[in-house]
Every structure is written in C-alpha cells, then in structure tokens.
C-alpha cells in the first residue's frame, strides 16, 4: 500500500492541522510517513502545499512525483487547480468551494468550477457552511479531511481518534467541534 496525498491551501488556512491528523493516525498504524511542508515567506497569505506520503514499505522521497498523487485535498478551489499536474489519472480531487481572494486578478467562481469539473469527478465541498454548522468556520479543514477520508488508506475511525489527540490540549469542546466537522464531511462521501 502506498498513498500519496497533496494538501493545498493558502497560508493560515490550516492545512498543517489536516496533515498532523493524518500523520498521527498513520503513525499509530505503524506505517511509514514522509510529509513535506512549506515554512517561511509563503506562509504570509501565499500558496502553500504539503506532500504527504504513507506506505507500508520504506518511502524514499519527501516529494510526490508529478502525476503520482492519489489524492489532492484543497481547502480552496483555485489552489486545488494549481496542483493538477500532480494528480494521477486515477487520482481523486476533493476541494472546498469557497474562494480565498487576496489578489486582484482572482478568476470568477464559475470559471473555477468549470475547470474543476473538467478534471473528472471532483468532490466539491461547501466546507464553510458545514463548518459553521459544526460550530466554527475554523473547522472547515476538518470538514475537508472528513470528505476526503474514504480516499485515504486509513480507517476513518483512526483519523477520528487522531483528531481527538491533536486537539486534546485545546479542550473537550474544541475536540467535539472538530469531530463534528469531520463527520459532516465524511457523511458527504459516505452517505
């Protein structure tokens, strides 16, 4: 088993929390992990991504090769398209649909959705609404993780347990809210 996942978003949107949850769950399953992330300049509102690889065999490279990602999880629709060259022909695209606009030439949402639909059968998630329902807009990253969970080579219950651990220090309410968000996402792809 080898699972290559690209996480995409804008600096500050919380993709590293998604990575931390998957990492921890994979660690508990005794899998090999490599997870490359972006620190520094780009974190100031720039495009950020993380290459996350889990496998039952040794992993050599920290980076996923072009055309070899099994899954792209994006918390922002424009950012999802940026990593299209990485997606394998059989790969899945799971993206939030709410744009994060911080540049003047940001394309229209319609144009974005058209391009996204052209990629095959992307899972388009209204993460913002589901996150608000879960209790806070800040949980939209966990909504996205839930929606993508069926395409990750880990049991959703393992991911849920890892969410509990990652947010433990922030209190029970935060854990409960993030798990609610995760389940709302999961329900989309596992009705």
């Amino acid at each position: 088993m080898q699972n290559n996942i690209i996480l995409a978003g804008v600096g500050g949107q919380g993709i590293l929390s998604i990575a931390a949850v998957i990492d921890l769950a994979a660690l508990h399953c005794d899998l090999h992990i490599r997870q490359a992330e972006v620190h520094g300049m780009s974190q100031r509102g720039g495009a950020v991504q993380s290459h996350l690889r889990i496998s039952d065999r040794e992993i050599h490279a920290d980076l996923i090769a072009l055309g070899r990602a099994d899954l792209v999880i994006s918390v922002e629709p424009l950012e999802a398209l940026r990593y299209l060259p990485f997606l394998s022909p059989e790969g899945r695209m799971v993206t939030a649909t709410e744009p994060f606009v911080n540049m003047p030439d940001y394309p229209s949402l319609d144009a974005l959705l058209t391009e996204l639909r052209r990629t095959g059968s992307p899972l388009l998630v209204d993460a913002a609404t589901l996150a608000r329902e879960a209790g806070s807009p800040r949980t939209s990253n966990m909504v996205m993780l839930g929606a993508a969970a069926p395409f990750i080579a880990l049991d959703p219950s393992q991911l849920e347990a890892a969410i509990g651990k990652i947010f433990e220090a922030k209190g029970e309410d935060t854990v409960a809210m993030n798990i609610r968000a995760f389940r709302k996402g999961l329900a989309l792809s596992q009705p």
Binding site: D23, L24, E37, G40, R44, G67, L87
Partner: protein, 536 residues
C-alpha cells in the same frame, strides 16, 4: 519501537540534545529555524540547562559555539546558508585552530530559493575550510548523523558541517532515539600555539590541517553514511545527500535496476567513486545544489561518461525531484496535466493590520514629492513592501545592506537617501553601518521598522527593540533630536508623514523608529493567555 514524528530540522535538534550538547547558538533563517526552536521548547533541554537563546547574528553564534567547544563542551551552531556568509570568517579560521569539545555546524541550504535570496551550496564552504561535511538523506539518518558528527569532530579535532536542504529540514518522518550521551565535563586547555593565529602559529596549524586530509578521506571510505546499491543498468547514479532518495524512487517506481552510490560523508571517497565509474558505462552525478563535485569529477575522470547539471542532463538550477531524475536516466514519461491558465499566482503579502503597511503608506506619501524616490531596504516581512500595492522599496540584497547602500548612494550624491530596516536586521548587521554614516556625517534617514520581533521567520525574540534601539542609536552617535519615534497606525498618518518629512529634510544622520507590535505576535500572545482557542 518508539517512533516520534519529527521535521528533519527537529531530528537534527533532538540528535544534538541526545549527543550531549551543552548549548546551541543560532540566528533564525528558513529552513534552519526549527532546529533551535525545538531545543528552546524542549523540556529535557531546559532541565539540563542547555543554553539556547538566539544570537545577534550568525557570526556571534558561531564564535560563541567555538568558545564552548574550546571549553571542552559539545556545541551546536545553526543557520541558513546565507548566514554562513556572515559567519564565514569564524568558520574558516576555526578549521585552522581546530576544536577541543565537539563543534557541529548545522547549515540549511534552500535550493529553488523557496525563502531565500539565492541557492548557494554550503558544501563549497565545507571544501574551502577542508573540514568533514555530512549530508544525510533521511530524518532518521540525520538524527543518527548528528551524534556521529560530534564523535567525528572530537576524534579529528575539527568542526564538522552538517548540511541540510529544505526538503529534508521541512519534511516529517518517524525517528527512533538512541540513548543519551552525557555532556562533556569542562575541559579548557591552554594551547595558545593552536588558538593564537599569528602567522607563525597559523602556518603550523594550516599544515596540520592539510596533513589531516588523507585521514579524513579514509574515514569517508569507511563511513556508514556512504553506501552502494548494486544494479545492472549501464548508467549508474552518483547520488549526493537527498539526491539518493530520488534515484531510489526511480528504481522502485519505474523498475529500473540502476546502481546507486550514495555519498553523505565528504570529502568524497575516491576509491568507491572510482569503482562506480569502472563498473558503469556512464555515471549521472546528482547533487541537490551546485555541481560542486561534478566539476571536480569531470577533472578526475577526464570528462568522459559523466552526465549531470553541467551538461544539461539535469537542470543547472533548482532542487531535484523524481521526475527530473527519471528523465535524466532516460525514462519516457507522459506530460503531466497542465495547470489551467486561469490559475494565477498567489504571492505572499503583508498581514492585514500589519504596522509595516501603515509605515509604507506614510513613506510613499512623503517620497511622492521627490524626483528621486529610491528607498533602500533590507530583509524581513517589510521586504513585501516591494510588491503592489505599495511598491515602496527598491532594494533587498543581504542583511544590513539597506543602511550602507543608502550611505554609499548618498556619498555619490543621491538625495534623499532613505532606508528601511527591521529591528532584528538592525541588530544583526545594521548597527555597524550606522556607525559608518555617523562618522562620515552622511545625510541618510534610517527608518527602523520595529515590530518588537523577528517576524519573517516566525516571531523569535529580537536582540534589541524599543527603547534599547533608541539607546543604541544614541550610543552610536546619532543626535538625540534626530532620533524620532512614530506609531504606524492609521490615526497617526498625517503626524507620521510630518516626522518623516522633517527627518528626510535634515542634512545629516537621522533615525525614525516606527514602533508597533507585530499583529501575529500579538495574536499569539493572546492565544497563549486564552486556554481554549478554536482551531489552529
């Protein structure tokens, strides 16, 4: 086995703690910052009293580490690649004196310039100084290599360079710890013949260093960090550091049985390399950085049957990856899907509510009235003022250069000569330039954007901020009435414009301190007071 998930930078830090360091000295810089941050946050390190606060710059950091090693203790010094330019004098000369306790320099290079001005390759400095260089390929190997580096440093009595690159420093993997090596006892020895580098001593010491080279190469030949993966493919890969990972990936993904000689311990082992050349029709030299060794090997082997970055088989610039390696080995790959044309770039930007924004707004208003609108600047978050909508600054070269470049331009006749520098950059290497300007009475206006932190690299403590900056400028000889403080906030805009205009009009050295806390830091402070913040 108890695995911990660590960034490469953190694995280096933990490796150093477990190797028994008594201190780490560093100035922040991507991708090296997390080495020191990890040690600063580590409870065991705090209990042990491992010294870990930030240094004023890389040179002071390196020299303090050298002093700790002089006293017989193990010391780690960490910096980014361009930081080694600043510390180079100390580094090169410490190879001549040699060390007593172990001294390891962890230096993180940034090929592809994700967060840097250039992609210089620190291995050049390693060769220049003639010290061993280790370049591990995985996080576990990195953890283990740090201890190996300290042992090596103490056995050959030389500083050892540990070279990391972005992809290793900023990627996480499982790491298993080794038992703790106790800290060294204090053991300072009076050896002025080694440490006083007057010519008669320096010549002896230099000859000693030259005499060590043969042994250093022998140690590389036997190093556990260098190893051969045999294969039947006619093209072999000589893979330095993490280049090995991409070669191994090609072997597995494309079923190509390429022989791979992995080198992670320099000076390069000549015998092993010669064997690779003898057993392969062609050798692809793969280095994550400059073609430092490819150039050398083309000489050794008469430029025959060598491929690499110098002949375009691999690109001359930028980091490597699996696809580049596969193509260099002749694997035909389908073109990946293109990025749709509507996908525009998303450059980084100053945070909403950042004080630098208000400073640039005021400065732009002032500069509008001049024909010459050059604003010299420096490295930090405020460098983002070069981008729209501000377009407020026009240079960013190396830390500290804003003041000295403005001074030189003023000497050449440019009026006004204005520069913007951050608090951390000012204490890093701006102060000495200000002294030059004071001594020459050069008409320059130095704006210190004091956000009370080293923001660009994640909010580390700056060496001096606030009233201490004022006192420093005063001490360097700037006149009291020409050290002004402004608060970069909307309601102060007109007042700030007035102060800036007055000081720019002054025909001498003036300093404007623009003081307002970084909003990211303010938010971090608030979060740490609030026990139940929401999501990260």
């Amino acid at each position: 086995m108890n695995r911990q998930l660590l960034l490469g930078a953190e694995a280096a830090a933990l490796g150093a703690l477990d190797a028994g360091i008594s201190g780490v000295y560093a100035y922040p810089g991507t991708p090296s910052t997390e080495i020191t941050e990890y040690i600063r946050k580590n409870r065991e390190a705090a209990l042990r009293g491992v010294r870990s606060s930030w240094s004023a710059n890389e040179k002071t950091a390196y020299e303090a580490a050298l002093g700790m090693a002089y006293a017989g203790k193990r010391a780690l010094v960490a910096m980014k690649h361009v930081g080694l330019n600043v510390a180079a004098d100390a580094f090169i000369n410490s190879a001549i004196t040699g060390v007593n306790g172990g001294l390891v320099l962890a230096v993180a290079d940034d090929p592809s310039m994700h967060s840097s001005q250039n992609e210089q390759d620190s291995r050049f400095y390693g060769r220049f100084a003639m010290v061993p260089v280790l370049e591990p390929a995985s996080q576990q190997e990195l953890y283990d290599a740090v201890r190996y580096a300290f042992d090596l440093s103490e056995s050959v009595k030389l500083p050892v360079m540990l070279r990391l690159t972005t992809r290793l420093a900023h990627s996480r993997a499982g790491v298993v710890r080794a038992p703790l090596h106790a800290e060294n006892p204090l053991h300072a020895v009076l050896e002025p013949e080694r440490y006083v580098l007057m010519p008669q001593n320096a010549r002896k010491q230099y000859n000693l260093l030259l005499g060590k080279q043969e042994n250093l190469e022998r140690l590389s030949e036997e190093s556990p960090l260098n190893r051969m993966v045999p294969g039947t493919f006619p093209v072999g890969v000589l893979a330095f550091g993490i280049a090995c990972n991409y070669a191994m990936e090609v072997r597995e993904t494309f079923g190509l049985d390429v022989p791979v000689l992995k080198i992670s311990h320099y000076p390069p082992p000549r015998r092993q390399i010669a064997e690779l050349f003898e057993s392969c029709e062609t050798v692809l030299v793969a280095e994550e950085g400059y073609p430092v060794y490819e150039e050398l090997l083309r000489g050794w082997f008469n430029d025959r049957n060598i491929r690499g970055r110098m002949d375009g088989t691999l690109p001359r610039a930028g980091e490597l990856d699996t696809v580049l390696m596969a193509r260099a080995l002749g694997v035909a790959l389908p073109e990946p899907a293109p990025v749709p044309t509507i996908v525009v770039n998303r450059p980084p930007e100053l945070c909403r509510g950042c004080g630098h924004r208000d400073l640039f707004e005021a400065l732009n208003r002032v500069m509008e009235s001049f024909e010459n609108r050059h604003v010299f600047s420096d490295i930090g978050c405020y460098t983002l003022g070069a981008l729209p909508p501000f377009n407020a600054i026009h240079t960013c070269v190396d830390m500290g250069a804003s003041i000295t470049m403005a001074k030189g331009a003023a000497d050449g006749g440019l009026r006004p000569a204005v520069c913007v520098i951050g608090d951390s950059t000012f204490t890093h290497s701006g102060m000495t330039g200000l002294l030059d300007a004071v001594n020459d009475r050069t008409p320059v206006t130095v704006i210190i954007a004091d956000n009370d932190t080293t923001a660009m690299t994640g909010g580390q403590e700056s060496a001096a901020t606030g009233t201490r900056l004022h006192a420093l400028c005063r001490g360097l000889g700037v006149e009291e009435q020409h050290i002004r403080t402004i608060i970069p906030l909307k309601p102060h805009l007109e007042e700030n414009i007035a102060v800036l205009s007055q000081e720019i009009a002054y025909d001498g050295v003036s300093v404007v301190l623009a003081r307002r806390e970084c909003i990211e830091n303010a938010a971090r402070r608030k979060r740490s007071k609030n026990p139940n913040p929401v999501n990260q």
